[in-house]
Amino acid sequence: MQDAARPRTKIEVCNLTKRFGELLVLDDISFSVAEGEFVAIVGPTGCGKTTFLNTLSCLLPASNGQILIDGTPANPKRHNISYVFQEPTCLPWRTVRENVAYGMEVKGRPQKDIDERLDHILNLVGLTQCANLYPNQISASMQQRIAVSRAFAVDPDLLLMDEPYGQLDVKLRFYLEDELVSLWRKLQSTVLFITHNIEEAVYVSERILVLSNKPTRIKAEVKVDLPRPRDFMDPEFVRIREHVTDLIRWW
């Protein structure tokens, strides 16, 4: 479906290297992401996936190399970067609605725009009914949905997600993955999605980057050119899933 000529390059990662003292975690990683692309990253435990995102989001300085967004070095103050963390990050003293608004407030958007955007997003993810509840009044999965909504709300140039649904049960995960895909398609953000779960990666993404063990490099790149909504039983789906599994099992 996305066969039409690819839009321009949005994110470019050049020779990214990260060391913690002597420990080399990211070893000279280079790749690029097109505007509006959904890329999944899978890799063995402890290979440096979180470190990778932390470096991309400028939370950690890179030891070497650079990250370009629209051709300029990534900078959270200038670019719209959103990061959905592994653990829930709701502000307990703000309501659901105020939590979703947080990113936009930080960026100083006018109140009128914020309100319009909030109505739109809360409606898309079906959180309108609980807009005025506090995080301690809703479940953990809801909290993660708030984090996802907050991330999409700022119109991110780059949306980073670190196993956002790792803790949830299978059924709810399918549901939220569908929700994620539909948000992505409606809002056309560029997404980097980290996961342990290969099926999840094949289900949501357009391209999968497979990472090696430490020192981490990109070991392979797998295109997922399947129509949506995707079907877990589809032979092509199963083939890609097994291909990626083999790539990881090699270690």
């Binding site: 990061y83 990050t89 307990p92």
Partner: protein, 265 residues
């Protein structure tokens, strides 16, 4: 409804009666010990004597120069003056020290030097500077109340969830935005704790300050009782200090509940 009524927790009889019994025994024994001369009345006053003085002191300025409620009012004024000043300075200082390296770097060493000195040890210097009036005592009380305010606010900010801070950073939040939007709300429960602790500190230091340098107040009344060899006045002073302190504690508790309900989390 009826099902609940059956499991209503009743206070056991022992817990209702025994407190009355023990308090009554305590006062009666005290009275007897003094009346029979086992403890001479130059050392301790009987409860009845103290009660008499209590009633008398509402109308009689002698021998210490003020009525009972006047003493209490002086003490309360001093305590709250010092207390509010301590909150006004200590809380912002502690909050800032918890987040801004400049504030921590500048204020922390001085704070650590001053902190272990008991406020009472400042009394002689204070008398040089302010005499024995209201400002000097407010200064002592302020010093004592400052410490818990700074520490609690500081620790409260340090307890801010680091992932929340990372989250804000990726949205491009400035240091000031993070301080205002994340650190202060995170610190609030600790700050409310400081309200109580600081008040207890202030009240304790107040009495100590009045014992040593004052011309009015409950602590001063205790000192006068000693100078005039009137144990009943000493006991009355002690009793009033306890009663007023407990009363203020109840008020602060109410205020805190009200405030906490206002910022429901």
């Amino acid at each position: 409804m009826t099902a609940y009524r059956e499991v209503v927790v009743r206070t056991p009889l022992a817990l209702k009666l025994l407190p009355i019994l023990s308090v009554a025994t305590f006062f009666i024994a005290w009275e007897i010990v003094v009346r029979t001369g086992v403890v001479p009345d130059t050392m301790l006053a009987a409860p009845t004597t103290v009660t008499q003085l209590l009633l008398d002191k509402f109308t009689n300025m002698d021998p210490d120069g003020a009525l009972l409620h006047q003493h209490a009012w002086v003490s309360i004024q001093e305590a709250f003056g010092g207390y509010f000043l301590a909150l006004a300075v200590g809380l912002p200082l502690g909050l800032a020290m918890g987040w801004f390296n400049v504030a921590e770097g500048l204020a922390r060493p001085i704070f650590e030097i001053i902190r272990p000195i008991p406020p009472v040890a400042w009394i002689p210097l204070t008398i040089f500077w302010f005499g024995i009036g209201l400002p000097g005592k407010i200064f002592i009380i302020w010093l004592g109340g400052l410490v818990p305010c700074v520490i609690n606010a500081y620790v409260g900010v340090k307890m801010t969830n680091p992932t929340l801070i990372q989250m804000a950073r990726t949205y491009g939040a400035s240091d000031w935005q993070i301080f205002k939007q994340l650190c202060i709300p995170s610190a609030l429960p600790m700050v409310f704790g400081a309200l109580q602790i600081a008040l207890a500190c202030c009240w304790t230091n107040l009495v100590a300050a009045e014992l040593l340098a004052a011309d009015a107040g409950l602590g001063f009344m205790i000192t006068m009782g000693r100078r005039l060899a009137m144990p009943e006045m000493v006991v009355l002073g002690m009793f009033m200090v306890g009663l007023t302190g407990a009363f203020i504690g109840v008020i602060i508790d109410r205020v805190e509940k009200r405030l906490l309900a206002g910022i429901r989390r």
